[in-house]
Symmetry: C2
Amino acid sequence: MSLVVVGSVAFDTIETPHGRAEEELGGSAVHFALAASLLNKVRLAGHIGRDATAAHLAPLRRPNIDLRGLTVKEGKTFRWSGRYAHDMNQRETISVELNVFGQYPPELLPEYADSDFVFLANGAPAHQMMVIDQCKAPQFVVLDTMDHWIISNRPELDKLFRRVDAVVVNDSEARLLTGEEHIRAAQKVLEMGPKYVIVKHGAHGALMVSGREVFVIPAFPTTRVKDPTGAGDSFAGGVMGHLSRVGKVTPQEMRLAMAYGTIIASFNVEEFGVRRVASLTLEEVEARMLEFRRVLKF
Amino acid sequence: MSLVVVGSVAFDTIETPHGRAEEELGGSAVHFALAASLLNKVRLAGHIGRDATAAHLAPLRRPNIDLRGLTVKEGKTFRWSGRYAHDMNQRETISVELNVFGQYPPELLPEYADSDFVFLANGAPAHQMMVIDQCKAPQFVVLDTMDHWIISNRPELDKLFRRVDAVVVNDSEARLLTGEEHIRAAQKVLEMGPKYVIVKHGAHGALMVSGREVFVIPAFPTTRVKDPTGAGDSFAGGVMGHLSRVGKVTPQEMRLAMAYGTIIASFNVEEFGVRRVASLTLEEVEARMLEFRRVLKF
């Protein structure tokens, strides 16, 4: 079934203990699309500025990525700059220039409006709602958000929660939303509307709750973490890539989807920006999936 | 094979968001022994003061626990008092009175000296070394420690690391020991001597590294966390209970052992002190193990 992601396309400047990368292609829609494209076709909707060159966008030119929804707007491309502390679990945002991402609401091409699986990457809740309104008959809509919107746009977010099928948050966002931790937090988010809630634990994997169903999955243990930027969006891309490929959402498929998300995210962090996932193959993903099953066996 | 634990017996005063318990039976050797006793016989070596009554010790009177090594010393029993913050991942020690635990070095009864599996619960490295010296021909010695000893007794600890088969630490101890995180930290600890290193991630499970072998296991997802005190020792008790029961240590048995440790620790946190594990049955453990396998399946 068809899959669309609506989110940011960015140029990131990233500092980690392993080095520094400047004006690196990034953004939620980019990390998501590259991950999802390993498993299914994916439509990308996002804005870039006049400063984006063909060379910048080269990593996105993959057979499974539909770039018709990548629109050039007057202005500059979204820029984010951040730094990771030694343990890479804490990141500090140095600067954010929303540019065209903030200036223009998202647009869904008429050719994208029939998408079955929809991923609303992190962005203004009002913009996310506009995307839902443009979808004709979505089968499964997944929402990502962040602390900023939880704090300052809660009423809009609450409305959104009642219109989406799943929500993906990290531990601190889950705590901010519910005042609870871990599985209790996920259960409380479920009460806000979505059928599935995924809570990401950063380097410690993720948790999924749906009704009475609970699934936990650790992260793939890798020693080669160079840059965690985009790990959450790669994870979501793997999840949605799998679900849209099999064309149905059941707790069992959601589990396997999260395993794909975990594996692809583990590659994402091995190089700066999208460098690793842009050259990743499905064979590498499947090989690591087998290794992961060995690592988890008892 | 025979199993012995040498460590503290304490009266804990614990405050969590779920309530408060005073002069609750606790201590590393107690939590360990109760957990291990579900799977095998276990010998307990530790000191109590003249203030310890039969009623205090009643939870330890189980067929599988050998209490001959519980010796009464002049003085008061070890007391610890602490408070957990809302998320229960952070705890604050309010007071520590080492009492007999600090005043007397550990003693291994002659009847315990032939123990095959030895758990050196957290304590002064010099005391832990004295225990090793008293063991005749131990098959598998596991060491626990804490930040205090890593900071102030590093040379003794380094010597110990070369004499034990396995080390159990948590994330912050692993970081303190190696300056590294997660799997890299575990690999660095391996270089210090032990054949197996287990890194506990608190509410996020644990990691084991041995040679090129890597195993990760999440925590059992429970919504009923009332008191995390003793979770690490219950975990270790489950691990050593299983290993000593099967009488051999292989990576495969270590994995299953860690699953037992995970399950028993998940019960331990459901009530204050040892209340839950003291009434736990092997049937309950096995039932939750099956549930855990379902939770992890993808």
